[in-house]
């Protein structure tokens, strides 16, 4: 069991938005609620069960200089040992970029010494404060610079532009968390098989509590042969994050009735059908079916709904099996 414990360090200078991120992704805060958060004192630990047998130990490290100095001197072996992932947050509006980078270098130095296999993610946060047409340029400049800095330490950086006010936060975190899932390939294989049975437009897997995207048929295909099915090309490329966002809003909305939802079936305009249903205890599945226009009539469609739900039920035991593999 101890091998499935993952230690994530969340670092960055004070006020860069670390605790806000954590609260939105893992504690169901809305972006507006995060204004109430105060400064984090020292390190705040949170233990989150993710996909059943995986535990994320998130170390939210307060970013004030006093604490920071401590991390790099007296506490360094405590903080930087057995780290799987370092998530370093940069405030794009920060006035003292040199100081930010200096701290980043310090943590890279320590990380190389104590856990050289760790993955490093960089989030350029508060992107909403930058003009839209300047965001890409700024992001590229920053990433080039940071990659150059981290080259001597042999870390390959993965960077994301993020903001708590849109879906970019979900995208970043879902990639971070997915990098920790060990049996990803099994999930992907089974998802493709399931898709072959259903002949769906697209299937997406979500983690239940956070609604982060674990996998989707379309992204698997993209990895395999570099192309997508052409009918999905002109869809919104940010749709996964948007779906996460929408479903989380829905969950919050019905929590007013002190309940949760089992499934959601939408028969959209344009002959599309959506099924969102619990797959295992820890996962939700979303299936998008494209109806051929020839099939119509209320009765037939009602039966079809039942068939899809039955299919999801039968898929359940296979996915539960993969989950229990350690």
């Amino acid at each position: 069991m101890s091998s499935s414990r993952k230690k994530l360090l969340l670092m960055g200078r004070s006020g860069s938005g670390k605790s806000s991120m954590r609260s939105i992704i893992f504690s169901n805060y809305s972006a507006f609620d995060t204004r109430r958060l105060g400064a984090t004192i020292d390190v705040e630990h949170s233990h989150l069960r993710f996909l059943g047998n995986m535990t994320l130990n998130l170390w939210d490290c307060g970013g004030q200089d006093v604490f920071m100095d401590n991390y790099f001197t007296t506490q360094k072996d405590h903080i930087f040992k057995f780290v799987q992932v370092l998530i370093h947050v940069f405030d794009v509006e920060s006035k003292s970029i040199n100081k930010d980078i200096e701290i980043f270098i310090k943590s890279l130095t320590n990380l190389q010494k104590y856990s050289p296999d760790a993955k490093v993610f960089v989030l350029l946060h508060k992107m909403d404060l930058v003009q839209i047409d300047k965001r890409d340029e700024l992001f590229n400049i920053m990433m080039d610079k940071l990659q150059k800095i981290s080259n001597p330490y042999q870390f390959k950086l993965v960077g994301f532009p993020t903001s708590i006010w849109n879906e970019s936060l979900y995208k970043a975190w879902s990639q971070i968390v997915c990098s920790l899932i060990p049996n990803m390939n099994l999930f992907n294989d089974n998802l493709l098989k399931f898709n072959r049975i259903l002949d769906a437009e697209e299937i997406i897997l979500f983690e239940k509590t956070t609604f982060l995207v674990i996998s989707s048929t379309n992204s698997i295909r993209q990895q395999l042969n570099g192309t997508t099915t052409n009918s999905l090309d002109n869809l919104d490329p940010k749709r996964f994050e948007k779906i996460s966002n929408i479903i989380k809003t829905y969950k919050q909305s019905i929590s007013k009735l002190r309940t949760n939802f089992n499934n959601l079936i939408i028969k959209g305009s344009n002959d599309t059908q959506f099924f969102i249903d619990g797959l295992t205890d820890n996962m939700f599945i979303m299936i998008i079916l494209k109806d051929s226009p020839s099939k119509s009539g209320e009765y037939v469609n009602n039966k079809e709904e039942l068939i899809v739900l039955k299919n999801i039920k039968s898929a359940r035991k296979w996915f539960e099996k993969i989950e229990s593999v350690k």
Binding site: R239, Y250, L264, S269, N270
Partner: protein, 337 residues
């Protein structure tokens, strides 16, 4: 110049007139309710300098007309007589966080004039910006304003005027609730609509049903059971979620770009949107698109889990009946007007 903007009294559009002193929050209300603006963004609205009109067509065609607060309506060159004759409801916004004595004097003057010109007018008062008041103080404030307005009207010799009061804020759903009530008073077919919804509830084990305007989240009608604000909020948000998810998978290709039926209210080639969600506590949220940008949203009791499919087919059938009668009703009302 102003005469151009005034609605023609013979226009079939029911008009709601939004009035109040300056900085009372009238434009913010319009933006939030009809343009889906985020409440916080309304901080940056400019002061309105001339009357603006919002057209919105749900079951009936409505226009909401907003007047600048600083105008004096009793200047001779202003055609206020025709203006007041043409409107169905007068909504007066009082800022509850400000000194409201001036507003009450202004209100009673307007009421006196409007009532003389058009005795059939509905007078509604929004006691606005209550989000800043504590719970206890809200009721005190309402009681005080009602008392003072009553006294003022009594002094002017107008005891018979019906004035309705609402506590509102743009930061929660109270403004939608208030507008729903106001709009409902203007729909002539409301009693039969409510009757139809009551029938639907009775025969389909539905707990609560709303007929929503998709765009503004105002409910045009509901069944006769009391409105629970939480159910309303959940139902209104359920529409958003359904529409948002649906729109994600409408591809931008030109062949079906025009089939986005929700925004223009006239679903021609697009299929009607329908969504169902089973909740853990055994109830079901049910949404079905109706005519003219309306949607029916119901929360359904579902104790018996095994039978739910049969039950749902029955509800589908009943809702379809409701929809066809809604169509008939709307056609008839158009012929009359």
């Amino acid at each position: 110049m102003e005469g151009m903007l005034l609605p023609n009294p013979k226009d079939s559009n029911a008009t709601i007139l939004l009035m109040g002193l300056r900085r009372g929050g009238k434009s913010s209300i319009c933006k939030v309710v009809f343009h889906n603006m985020q409440p916080l963004d309304t901080l940056y609205l400019e002061s309105t300098s001339k009357p603006t009109t919002e057209q919105f067509s749900s079951l009936i065609d409505l226009s909401v007309m907003e007047l600048p607060g600083q105008l004096n309506y009793f200047e001779p060159n202003y055609d206020s007589e025709r203006l007041f004759q043409s409107i169905g409801a007068l909504v007066y916004v009082i800022d509850s966080q400000d000194e409201y004595l001036n507003a009450i004097t202004n209100l009673s003057m307007i009421i006196e004039y409007a009532y003389k010109v058009n005795p059939k007018i509905n007078i509604e008062v929004l006691i606005h910006k209550i989000d800043g008041l504590s719970e206890d103080y809200r009721l005190d404030c309402q009681r005080d304003i009602m008392q003072r307005t009553g006294d003022e009207l009594l002094d002017l010799g107008l005891e018979g005027v019906q004035v309705s009061f609402y506590l509102t804020s743009i930061f929660d759903h109270s403004i939608y609730e208030a507008f729903s009530r106001i709009v409902q008073k203007l729909i002539n077919e409301l009693p039969s609509l409510e009757n139809m919804l009551d029938n639907l509830v009775e025969h389909s084990s539905i707990e609560k049903v709303f007929l929503f305007d998709i765009n503004s989240k105002i409910y045009v009608a509901t069944d006769s059971s009391p409105v629970d604000i939480q159910t309303y909020e959940v139902c209104a948000e359920f529409i958003d979620i359904t529409i948002d998810l649906d729109n994600l998978y409408i591809s931008e290709s030109p062949s079906n770009g025009a089939s986005n039926g929700q925004s223009n209210g006239e679903p021609t080639c697009a299929k009607e949107v329908k969504s169902i969600s089973y909740l853990n506590n055994g109830s079901i949220l049910y949404l079905k698109q109706m005519i003219r940008g309306l949607a029916l949203v119901a929360s359904i009791n579902n104790e018996d889990n095994d039978e739910f499919n049969n039950n749902l087919t029955l509800i589908d059938y009943n809702v379809n009946l409701f929809k066809s009668s809604l169509k008939k009703m709307w056609e008839n009302s158009r012929i009359q007007s």
